[in-house]
Symmetry: C2
Subunit: 361 residues, 2 copies
DNA sequence: CTGAAAGCGCTTACAG
DNA sequence: CTGAAAGCGCTTACAG
């Protein structure tokens, strides 16, 4: 009977006579039981490597499974263990409108995926529009998701705020959420360092071009606070008229933001921009009005965006350690899923990448 | 009993006393059966809207489900219906090493995801490294995937070639795969048009800078063949020494490719580059040697990559209709899943975006 | 129009 | 060390 199955299965594979009937020919643990003479629970034990079992029995079963091309059925497993081996991902593209393409989040997610795949988990993108409007939590319940990673939610989403109370293990790589562990770059310290770099190079009139603030994401504010503190440490008090905030996250916004900043700032010689994309826009505006970086104005960015050709690269910037953030997120989330508690917040150092956008005085 | 469940459930939600025990308090159709006095099969029918059922019965059940916050359990559904409502995605980042960030594929997938989500499907990224090395097909069987979209596989992957025989409904957005429907841009026609644009502008000495060829992907070859044909139609025979092929897909490769091309080409006045990213690299090289686009050399790209700030945009290019490709792919795949056959290949027109990189003679 | 029975493929106590 | 029984939450024929 099992042999028949295998034969037919082979037939289907090689001739595609029937359509979509793969599952009808799937080998189950009962086939294995019949074949080896053991019972289904014993097969299960052998396959999962748990419980005490005679060595020979296990080997015999494993061999039979191999030979028959046995593949476990996740739906059945999931139903009986209540573990879907699915990690829900919250990644909304409201801010940049680039979704999977987002330079920072995309990279982070790539690495995160690799990590959890090794542990047998798959990614499942959570959506509010699913099936005609399900909440994230409902989507999670529907799919029995084991854990959630919040990569980039909508700002001030009330549903996100409640995630910590949902009881579903959860980790955040950007936002602060009550009851959820956040893995995030050392933004404040980076701001401090940026200020020191400028001061060390002899700059006094220093500007700041910010990304939009998000109520629930600390990045923009932390970087600014650190920058002001860094200047203060060097005896320079930051002048508010040298500050401007962009209204988006793209180059265009950086371009306009730069224009606006210069319309009310003093003659600044240095500028810290909280994200590279905005910095590139700012540089474009400067070029347009005939100013050069760093000859006329020194600049430090943030993110090390990878969008530029290596040979064109000159912007000094802070690289966020996406791989490390992803790794830690995966590790902490997996821990949480198995009941091991973790810290509320983990900070990951950034790396200052010195190129040639700072001029010495 | 059910009320108790709801109460406890509320308690868990609001205080997070227990961890990860959501599922223990899930409302099932049996709870609904007890509550309404109907049997489980009847509940099922009401919930799924199929079979004949008394109107009042259905309404009563639906109301009870709503009130109890009932959510179906996909694992159970999947086990009994053999439909996982999961679409497997094959997207490898070998070529650009950018994974989710890939400009073309990321955008395409965003749209595709929206389409299938409306039909109640979720995306599942297929991987070969899953669980310590499963094949795509094994991964599909493991998760009982209903269909597959091949966005960007590894070149010449033998597993991909066999996808058509697997019996799993499958669609491809780039590669040609035996027995699998491909939705792809009109590459040949675009090549023809590019040639005509140059010729109309009075160019005679015309070069071609190609992306690497992929054995299983037609794009690069089709564009080139079309271009040669377009020139021939205008009485110009393409000179092989004006041809060069880049060894990667990034700007750096375009930069080097351009250098190489000029080392053996005649003094070309126009250049067709098969992808924008390469074109930007080529432009960088030209700038380096003091040549300008289009003053010294006219250029047409491909893809309309979105990487550049709108106000800096001057490269004329062909925009692939990602949304259309994604829509059609979703529609055709969903059809296939429900047994409706479709065509082997669907071509989607590109749009020529005329900007200012072609100089008239 | 509604329900009793059986099944999807797996695992979890519990016996022996 | 191994197996019989029951259960996970849902659906599918089949009766009535």
């Amino acid at each position: 009977m099992r042999h028949l199955k295998v034969l037919i299965s082979f037939y289907v594979y090689s001739t595609n006579l029937f359509n979509n009937d793969l599952s009808d020919f799937m080998v189950t643990i009962y086939d294995l039981a019949r074949e080896t003479g053991f019972s289904a629970p014993t097969i299960s034990k052998a396959l999962n490597g748990n419980g005490r079992l005679n060595k020979e029995t296990r080997e015999k079963i494993l061999k039979a499974a191999e030979k028959a091309g046995y593949k476990p059925n996740m739906a059945a497993k999931s139903l009986s263990t209540k573990q879907s081996k699915l990690i829900g991902v919250i990644l909304e593209d409201a801010s940049m409108n680039r979704g999977f393409e987002h330079p920072l989040f995309g990279g982070l997610l790539n690495k995160f995926r690799k990590e959890i795949e090794m542990a047998g988990y798959d990614l499942l993108f959570l959506s509010k529009h699913f099936n005609g409007g399900m909440s994230y939590i409902d989507h999670c319940i529907y799919r029995d998701v084991d854990g959630i990673i919040v990569v980039n939610p909508i700002d001030e989403d009330p549903e996100i705020a409640k995630l910590g109370e949902s009881g579903i293990p959860c980790i955040s790589t950007n936002e602060f959420i009550d009851g959820v562990c956040t893995v995030v770059s050392e933004n404040f310290e980076s701001g401090v360092l940026a200020a020191k770099k400028f001061v060390e190079a002899g700059h006094k009139k220093i500007g700041y071009l910010s990304a939009p603030f998000r109520k629930t994401s600390p990045a923009a504010k932390e970087r600014f606070d650190g920058f002001v503190k860094g200047l203060a440490d060097c005896g320079i008090s930051f002048d508010d008229k040298n500050y401007e905030i962009c209204d988006h996250w793209n180059e265009e916004a950086g371009f306009k933001g730069m224009e606006k900043l210069l319309s009310h700032s003093e003659e600044i010689t240095a500028l810290f921009v909280t994200c590279d994309t905005l910095a590139f826009g700012a540089i474009s505006y400067l070029e347009k009005i005939g100013k050069k970086v760093p000859d006329d104005i020194s600049m430090i960015g943030f993110d090390d965006d990878d969008l530029v050709m290596p040979s064109n690269l000159f912007l000094s910037t802070f690289r966020q350690n996406r791989d490390k953030i992803a790794e830690l997120s995966a590790e902490l989330l997996l821990n949480k899923i198995s009941g091991i508690p973790g810290p509320d917040i983990v900070r990951v150092p950034t790396e200052f990448i010195e190129r040639s956008s700072i001029k010495n005085y």
